[in-house]
Amino acid sequence: MQKTVLDLTVKSCEMISAQYALLKLTQQNPLPEMHAGQFVEVRVDNSSTTFLRRPISINNIDRDDNSLWLLIQVIGDGTKAMSKLQSGDIVNVILPLGNGFSWPKEKSKPLLLVGGGVGTAPMLYWGKLLREKGYNPMFLLGARSKKDLLQLADFATFGSVYTTTEDGSYGEKGYVTNHSVLTSESWQRIYVCGPKPMMMAVAKEAKLLNVGCEVSLENSMACGVGACLCCVEDTKKGHVCVCTEGPIFDTEKLKW
């Protein structure tokens, strides 16, 4: 997929929970082709502390209204600035970057898309693409508490949704690895995105179940295009760039 730099227009930017903003971007021309699991690099340089671009996963592409959705967890100066964008603002974005999730082999055998915290973001677009192409995705989403579970209604349109909360306020209590659905279905493949300890725990479970697993890594990036060699992950093939060889990795390739 060819990479490009675009000036996109903010269609809307709304806080969908206390810590998360949903940013929808659009432009005159149809948005380029982008795959699930890929990400974009957003320019946010209105202060001296926000120099580098921020890499954000593609949450969704709505072809009906030609909008790119970015789910932003407000943590530091960059994400804070993004959450305050207004309709009509121009945002410069490099896209699409990274390698994306790999297509499964069989249509009917179920696929489990596991998301934790803001890691649920790429799973929405992936679930949609899978459902559109006739595959069978199901979702397992985990969060600290009910208020941190995001876009549940959107996920439900593409497949069954299972949830866990650490405080038990919604779904099953505990971590995603505690959820009964992990062992109650015969999974074709498991895709995971979330905090590293959570991904490692799910990967371990997948290995025990003898199911192939792909994770989405989030190493700190500078260039996003494989030139600077800052975002490397130490794999069985040595140091590779997460921005080009990833962010999606088959766990077989990692030294986990």
């Binding site: 990479k3 490009t4 120099f51 295009v225 494989g226 030139a227 130490d234 140091h239």
Partner: protein, 306 residues
């Protein structure tokens, strides 16, 4: 009008179609940016630092954002010169820019052997010698922080390398003009400055450094005043042409370095912020020249009115 504007400059025997070059370590091997810019328009592309043997580089994390800049501690990760010659060079030799190889090493013999191998490549008209590497035979002290260390490696490489030799200077010294003079005396055709400044970043909440190596190299707009000052000082100390780099983000920044004495400039960290910068700056410099009625860019070199 633009047809009458002359943008060509020379670094010794090396002719550049314009003064814009891309800095080693920030532009990969050129192809990484092919979707964003026309590589053939760029005056020179300096590829990733190449060492004699394969290097894995430092452990992650290798970078930290800092005010108006960033720190990096990549550690010269590359697959070694033989891999470069066999697998990378064939894919880039036909780019209509000057493909320049940055040569790094940890001992003089390695620099010499690497330079000798690159000398054989018809499509590479110059090398940029990175003397900011630690000299393992001298307790890890960088070659380029003493005149003797710099002279030793540059002279040895000069004997082995017959084409244009650019030496990249470290700013982590008391007097960069001394190192520049030593480089000139040792046979360098040009000096490029500055390499990164030694810096550090800390996470106060976690009470940990942000880089795996604790310290790293600072780049970006934050270093521009230091880089500019050093280019100006070196331009008064040597006769060989200077390549200026350090925080250049646009055409006006580039002009500032040329006025201070640089014949050419490099764009580094700027590529991360705007991947189109290596073409955009050419246009911005042309706009400046039109506004200032300058028809030959060489008239701007060292034209600072002090």
């Amino acid at each position: 009008m633009t047809n009458e504007i002359k943008m060509g400059v020379k670094l010794g025997n090396l002719a550049l179609k314009n003064p814009i070059m891309t800095a080693s370590g920030t532009f990969g091997y050129g192809s990484e940016f092919a979707d964003f810019v026309d590589l053939n328009r760029i005056g020179g592309i300096i590829v990733k630092g190449t060492t004699l043997h394969h290097r894995e580089g430092n452990p992650y994390p290798r970078m930290a954002e800092t005010p108006s800049g960033m720190l990096n501690a990549v550690g010269l990760q590359n697959k070694g010169v033989h891999y470069f010659v066999d697998h990378i060079y064939p894919t880039i030799k036909d780019i209509k820019s000057n493909i320049i190889v940055n040569v790094s090493g940890s001992q003089v013999e390695d620099y010499v052997e690497t330079a000798r191998i690159i000398n054989e490549l018809k499509g590479v008209p110059a090398i940029e010698l990175n003397i900011s590497c630690p000299n393992v035979k001298h307790g890890g002290m960088a070659f380029g922080v003493t005149t003797s260390g710099a002279s030793e490696v540059i002279s040895a490489v000069r004997r082995a390398y017959s084409k244009t030799l650019i030496v990249k200077l470290s700013p982590n010294v008391t007097d960069i003009t001394e190192i520049a003079k030593a480089a000139e005396a040792s046979g360098a055709d040009s000096v490029s400055l500055i390499n990164t400044l030694l810096g550090m970043a800390v996470n106060a909440e976690k009470r940990k450094p942000l880089l795996s190596t604790v310290t790293g190299g600072l780049s970006g707009p934050a270093v521009k005043p230091i880089a500019l000052r050093m280019v100006w000082q070196v331009s008064k100390a040597v006769n060989i042409p200077i390549v200026g780099l350090g925080g250049i983000m646009n055409g006006l920044d580039a002009i500032e370095f040329m006025l201070a004495g640089a014949t050419a400039i490099q764009l580094g960290t700027a590529n991360f912020i705007d991947p189109t910068v290596s073409n955009r700056v050419i246009d911005e410099i042309q706009d400046y020249m039109i506004r200032h009625h300058v028809s030959d860019i060489n008239d701007l070199i060292g034209a600072l009115e002090v």
